[in-house]
């Protein structure tokens, strides 16, 4: 057992850190530090910087642009990315669809889509959840009927993150309504968002932001060539994809970065004639979060270091801990931020940052950030679903 990083890993961390220091556009970095939303252009610009460096999709197989780094290096890379802070590459392409494609897609599909994901030529969104299919995803109803060379898709997807920017959507659709159980009869389809019959309607969340959407399909014709893998096997691909979503969901680096900003802000905000960072009660709350984060970091590293002992593609059931604790701690940091800003959390920012509003100060993003982060214990398999997973897979109940 040796919990320190090797010399090579330390040097690697420095190399990554140095690169991020100069490579992240200043405006993008500032937006991230202030908790603002990034534009599509910000994301595309950053992804192409990474791609030029050869780091767009480090976890992919080498033949599709991967770097061949082991789990520890991938972890270091990701942590440095969050600490920089730099934009997290769009997960729907690089983390979710990509691995499904290089595992089950045909050569033609791989050759066409994978390089375009790495360069963010195509912005992908995820069409899984439906109004009646949330945690119980297998009850999805959107159907795709085969008619000659096309599937005709009808139905509705929801909580579709950043669909307003998307060029493509990958969907789970029901292709066999008479299958013996709900999980069979589902297929994995790639749909061009420019297709006739698609309507995107924004959902404004409690923070006032526009991240998620409803996507309606009205007789949308999708070429049969856009089917991934086998027809009616989509559930397996979807499950595999969601397993990949859970690793890295702890976002420990991001929580560390937010703790750093909390300390900076707490050194400026006064309470009782002194900076709130000197307030004993506040410091104890801050320390309590830091300790839990340290414990979680050790567990994240255990999962990462244990990867070499596991069958490829089989997530450690312990990664459910990472989801539960990681999301709780992300939420705890947004709550600490609220503690620091106190009554000045109240003013709301009415417009986009055009400099004309005197309240257009980054502190107006603190309360929306707190509101917005309630999502992290809901998405990616709610924390209650994670507890079901632990009870079943780990405890055998």
């Amino acid at each position: 057992m040796d919990l320190s990083y090797s010399k090579e890993e330390v040097a690697f961390r420095q190399e990554v850190r140095d690169f991020f220091k100069t490579a992240v556009p200043a405006e993008t970095r500032k937006k991230l530090q202030e908790g603002r939303h990034l534009s599509k252009e910000d994301m595309v610009t950053w992804q192409r910087i990474l791609n030029k460096k050869g780091w767009a999709v480090p976890h992919w197989p080498k033949e599709w642009g991967g770097t061949g780094w082991d789990a520890v290096k991938l972890y270091i890379f990701n942590e440095e990315l969050q600490l920089a802070p730099a934009p997290q590459p769009l997960a729907f392409g690089v983390n979710m669809l990509g691995p499904v494609l290089f595992n089950v897609a045909n050569e033609e599909q791989k050759k066409y889509y994978l390089p375009r994901i790495a360069n963010l030529d195509d912005w992908w969104c995820q069409g899984f959840s439906e109004p009646g299919a949330g945690s119980d995803l297998a009850s999805l109803k959107t159907k795709a009927e085969r008619k000659g060379d096309v599937y005709v898709v009808n139905g509705q997807k929801t909580w579709t993150t950043l669909a307003q920017h998307a060029d493509w959507i990958f969907c789970l659709v029901r292709t066999d309504p008479n299958a013996k159980n709900r999980q069979s009869g589902i297929s994995f389809l790639l749909v061009d968002m420019k297709s006739r019959g698609i309507t995107v309607r924004p959902i404004i969340t409690i923070d006032g932001g526009h991240e998620v959407n409803e996507v309606f399909f009205d007789n949308v014709e999708v070429p049969v060539a856009n089917l991934v893998g086998e027809e009616n096997k989509g559930w397996d691909y979807g499950k595999f994809l969601l397993g990949n979503e859970r690793t890295g969901i702890a976002r420990i680096g991001a929580s560390k970065e937010r703790l750093r900003r909390i300390r900076q802000l707490a050194a400026q905000v006064q309470s009782g004639g002194k900076p709130i960072i000197e307030d004993q009660r506040f410091l104890e709350k801050l320390t309590a979060v830091e300790i839990e984060l340290k414990a979680l970091e050790m567990n994240q590293m255990r999962v990462v270091a244990g990867e070499k002992h596991r069958e490829k593609g089989k997530p450690d059931p312990a990664s459910s801990i990472l989801k539960i604790k990681g999301s709780e701690l992300q939420q705890a940091t947004t709550e600490l931020m609220m503690d620091v800003i106190g009554p000045f959390a109240a003013p709301a920012n009415t417009g986009e940052s055009d400099g004309s509003n005197e309240l257009d100060d980054w502190t107006t993003m603190i309360a929306p950030g707190y509101f917005n982060y309630r999502k992290v214990s809901i998405y990616g398999g709610s924390n209650e679903i994670q507890r079901n997973i632990i009870a079943k897979a780990v405890l055998g109940l």
């Binding site: 300790i291 414990a295 405890l395």
Partner: protein, 382 residues
């Protein structure tokens, strides 16, 4: 970065777990508690035969030169079995003082008899008003000739009535709470003026209140610098804290396992109660609490060998905080999920709860350590 145990460490784990699985079940533990000393000479002899008592000592002193990870392995196994023998007091703490502060002569005088199991030690530190502050020492060590005269009263001294030798903190100069002036002394239990009054503790172990009345010792009784011994005390107690955290991880692990087994067998409403989601989620939260404790205990274990005393202390304090939170949750919920049977003295789960509860208030509870870290600006201040 590597979380795997080495080949030797795996062997150690297998052998200590094997020893305790075979010869230290819950019924045997009851017998050991009922023995005259409150613990078993026979078990102690077996620990000696397996080399457990010599583990952390340098090879030059007759030991195996093992480190903090090996102690973690042993203490975790002892936590699983709820061992009552004085391993912490003798090997971890008494041995720790000898390893870090003992002169050649002191090490030669004491370590061989620890390793062969013929002698045990006890740490006489807690005072009426000191609570968790190691530097709060009223017991006096007055210079007399080349030696010292020790006077004072120590409380809840683990293994206090059966130890052959005490390691005693006593003040050689300064005020009661000054950092400087704390000395550490080796005092034979049969020295004139030493009186130990023993009693059982809540967790099935035994302790004693020990009075030192004008106890005369020679200059060779002092471990390290008698006028500045606090850094030594802090170092050894930090090692004891991590050992306790490892013991707690073992006890929590076994508590959870026992509780889950119960959920799988206890029938109500025509089914195993483990089928109820409310109880499944409780079990999952206990698992999360256990793994958080296990993760940070590894961090604290590595910190034992940090060169920088402040960094070491901070990391170990953080470990004690997390373990304290986890053990409270797991301990309480393991009783709750057992229902009425968890309340009975006859059933083992309550005994884990009691030991975990006592660990929490040994060498600083979660609040104490949290306040310590907060007072210096938090865990991530740099």
């Amino acid at each position: 970065m590597d979380f795997d145990l080495s080949e030797e460490q795996r062997l150690l784990k297998d052998s200590v777990e094997g020893l305790l699985n075979d010869g230290y079940d819950f019924e045997q533990r009851k017998k050991n508690i009922a023995a005259k000393k409150g613990w078993s000479d026979d078990a102690w002899k077996k620990f000696a035969e397996q080399g457990l008592l010599g583990l952390p000592f340098a090879e030059a002193d007759g030991g195996f030169g093992a480190g903090a990870i090996e102690t973690m392995i042993v203490m975790e196994a002892m936590g699983k079995a709820l061992v009552v023998e004085p391993y912490l007091a003798t090997v971890v703490i008494g041995g720790g003082f000898l390893r870090h502060g003992g002169s050649d002569a002191q090490r030669q005088a004491h370590i061989p008899s620890i390793i062969d199991g013929s002698k045990t030690l006890a740490f006489a530190q807690l005072e009426k008003n000191s609570r968790y502050d190691l530097g709060d020492v009223a017991t006096a060590a007055k210079k007399k000739g080349s030696g010292y005269v020790i006077s004072g009263e120590k409380f809840v001294v683990a293994n206090g009535e059966t130890a052959d030798t005490f390691v005693v903190t006593a003040r050689t100069k300064g005020g009661q709470r000054d950092r400087a002036g704390v000395g550490v002394f080796l005092v034979p239990a049969d020295a004139k003026g030493v009186r130990a009054k023993g009693y059982p503790t809540q967790d099935g172990l035994r302790a004693a209140n020990v009075t030192f009345e004008q106890v005369e010792v020679g200059a060779d009784a002092a471990l390290g610098d008698p006028e500045n011994g606090l850094p030594l005390v802090e170092r050894v107690v930090d090692e004891a804290r991590i050992a306790l955290c490892s013991e707690a991880v073992g006890a929590m692990d076994e508590s959870l396992k026992t509780t889950i087994e119960y959920l799988k067998t206890r029938q109500q409403f025509g089914q195993n109660i483990g089928k109820f989601q409310a109880l499944q989620h409780r079990g999952s939260d206990m698992f999360v609490a256990l793994e958080q404790a296990r993760g940070i205990t590894m961090y604290g274990t590595m910190a034992v060998s940090y060169d920088n005393a402040e960094e070491r202390a901070t990391a170990i304090a953080a470990t004690k905080v997390q373990v304290g939170r986890s053990l409270k949750y797991i301990g309480q919920q393991s009783i709750q999920l057992h229902g009425g049977v968890g309340m009975t003295m006859e059933y083992k789960i309550g005994h884990y709860f009691k030991r975990l509860t006592m660990i929490e208030s040994t060498f600083g509870d979660a609040d104490y350590h949290l306040r310590r870290i907060a007072a210096q600006g938090g865990l991530f201040k740099n």
